[in-house]
Every structure is written in C-alpha cells, then in structure tokens.
C-alpha cells in the first residue's frame, strides 16, 4: 500500500524561514508542497520520510531567496494491482460503489466488478431510494436452484468492504470543467470485490470474508 519514493527537487526557500535550522525549514517547505497531493505515477504523498541531501544554497541574481537542491524520500500511498484492502462504503449509484479510506476517497467499484449476480433496485424498506443487492447462490453449480439463494443488501454507508485493486489511474488534468461536475480526481483506483477463483470448495466462507 505504501512505498518510499526518492525524489530530487529544487526548492526556493522563502526568507522568512531562514531563522529556523536548515533541515527544519526545508522539511517545512517540502511538506507544504507535497503533503496530501497526488503526484502522477507516484501516488498520494502522505509524508516526508527523510531528507537525504541538501545542496546548493545559491542566491540567483534578482532573487531574494536561496535555492537548494534537495534529495528526499516521500512516503506515498500507491496500492499495487492485486493488493487486498479494506475500505468503508461512502456512496453508491447505478454505476457502482464508491469507497473511502479516510485519507483517500476515490476508490470505485464499477457495477461489472461487483460480485455476480448483483442488481440495483428500489429499496423495499426505504421508499424512494435505490440500493444494490447481491444474490448469492449457496451452491455455485446449480444455477436453477433458486431456493438456496441468500440476499445481501449493500447499502449501509460506512460498512467495511474488502476488495482487490484492479487498476490505478491518473487521469490528466482537464483544461475546462463544466460547472456542476464532480471535483477532479487526480488518482482513481478501480477495484473489484469479486474473487477470481470460483472453484474453491470453501467458496461460501470466502465470500462472507470478502464481504464482511
């Protein structure tokens, strides 16, 4: 889930930080720059792990602040494909579910990656709302045997879902956005809650754990 990334950055240290010790000032500036930001193909930067090297300190002509070349390691959140993670259900609609981990909210399960068979239907208990239902056949081979199907509603906001990461995308920044669209997500994780192997004899337990 978490990786260290070594980066080199040219940092202009604003003069009001010069009263602090150099490494504190550089760390402060790096954190302001990188923390909680997504770097394309690197991931969501969680923290500055350590600073390896600080070089330079030259003041360029016409500038009032020193420029340093800093080599540091960032702690980034970048799940790999196939990783298994728990997250809470944040919202859902006809296209699928959206999950949140607290610090990262753009985790989507598109409807075709929900456990099969699932459907989106009017909520029997709640009047106007729709919700997702997963119908699990206890005996996988016997698809005509409807009597043993158990129905799991997926509608409790905040319930924990365990999923497998399918892909991590970094869409490019759009030049223009229509007014009411969702805020731009620089990193989108598409996941599936569907386990690949259906021949396992422990299938029933498996689904309950995947879905607990």
């Amino acid at each position: 889930m978490f990786n260290l990334s070594l980066i080199e950055h040219t940092l202009r240290l604003p003069p009001h930080l010069l009263s602090l010790s150099l490494d504190k000032a550089v760390k402060h500036d790096l954190e302001k720059l990188f923390l909680d930001k997504v770097i394309a193909n690197l991931g969501l930067c969680v923290s500055v792990y350590d600073i390896r090297k600080i070089d330079g300190g030259f003041i360029f002509p016409g500038d009032g602040a020193p420029t340093y070349t800093v080599e540091c390691r960032l702690l980034v959140f970048r799940p790999f494909v196939g990783e298994i993670i728990d997250a809470k259900l944040k919202e859902f609609d006809k296209d699928g579910l959206r999950l949140s981990m607290g610090f990262f909210d753009d985790i989507y399960i598109p409807f075709h990656l929900l456990p099969y068979p699932s459907r989106f239907e009017p909520d029997s208990e709640n009047g106007n709302r729709f919700r997702w239902i997963w119908e699990y056949q206890a005996n996988g081979e016997n698809e005509d045997d409807q009597t043993s199907a158990t129905v799991y509603p997926i509608d409790e906001i905040g319930e924990t879902i365990r999923f497998r990461v399918q892909s991590v995308n970094y869409p490019s920044i759009p030049l223009e956005q229509p007014k009411d669209s969702k805020p731009f997500a620089p990193m989108v994780i598409t996941v599936s809650s569907f386990s690949n192997y259906v021949w396992c004899p422990l299938l029933q337990l498996c689904f309950s754990i995947l879905f607990s």
């Binding site: 909680d36 923290s47 702690l75 192997y197």
Partner: protein, 133 residues
C-alpha cells in the same frame, strides 16, 4: 522536481504506523503531525496492525520463506494477517497448484500462531443480514 527512484522500497502498514507514531501521532493527544498524516494514522490504527510488533513481523517473514511466495503476497499477508485458509486463498495466486488446501491451512496456522489475532469483524461464523429469498 525529478523522480530519482519511484520505488525505493515498499513499507508494510506496520512500518508506516510506527513511523507516524514516532512523528508524534497518537490517539489521545492533538497531533503534531499534519491533518492528512493523522487521517492515515486513524485508518491504520483501526486495522489489525495496531497490535503487531517488529519481532512478530520478522518472525512471520522467516517462517513464510519456505512457501516461496511473491513479495507482494508476503506484503499482503503481513498487512491482512489471514488466520483461515480462505484468507490465504484470496491472497495467493494459483493457490491450489502452489500450496494445495493443506499448505494454505498450514500457512494460516503459522500466521495465527505468530501474530496476535486481529479484532474480529462483525461475525465470521454467522453471515450477517442474510434474508432468505
């Protein structure tokens, strides 16, 4: 900004949690870490890794060596700590061919023995909110 090495090392959740704790994040006190770091800390503290220790992790690493698992699979096992064979099946690819049912159960037993048990999810024996059709 230049990326010198995008993958300088993978960290287990446990290592990230200890790093954040060493920076001053904790449940009670108003943290000296940034709010985004604190959110990560909150997420990790709720998972099973809160009870792990350095010794239990290195112990587990040593014991799973003989199963010849990929690095990603070992990482998943350390983070999730599956104590049942089913959990192992979801993590290890082609589990039937590589480990077989007994191998998976053995691995699960090793995990259960080395690491303290995670807090139980709502119910593992009974299936929650199941309505019969």
């Amino acid at each position: 900004m230049k990326i010198k090495n995008a993958n300088d090392g993978a960290l287990t959740n446990f290592e990230v949690l200890s790093f954040l704790q060493s920076r001053g994040a904790s449940k009670e006190v108003a943290a000296t870490v940034a709010p985004s770091e604190y959110k990560v800390f909150q997420y990790l503290v709720d998972t099973a890794v809160d009870k792990q220790t350095k010794e239990s992790v290195s112990d587990l690493l040593g014991k799973v060596k003989k199963y010849d698992l990929a690095k990603a699979e070992v990482l998943n096992i350390i983070n999730l700590r599956p104590t049942s064979a089913v959990g192992i099946y979801t993590i290890v690819e082609k589990c039937d061919a590589r480990l077989g049912e007994e191998g998976a159960q053995d691995l699960a037993d090793i995990v259960a023995e080395v690491s303290p048990p995670p807090e139980e999810p709502r119910s593992e024996e009974g299936l929650p909110q199941a309505n019969d059709v």
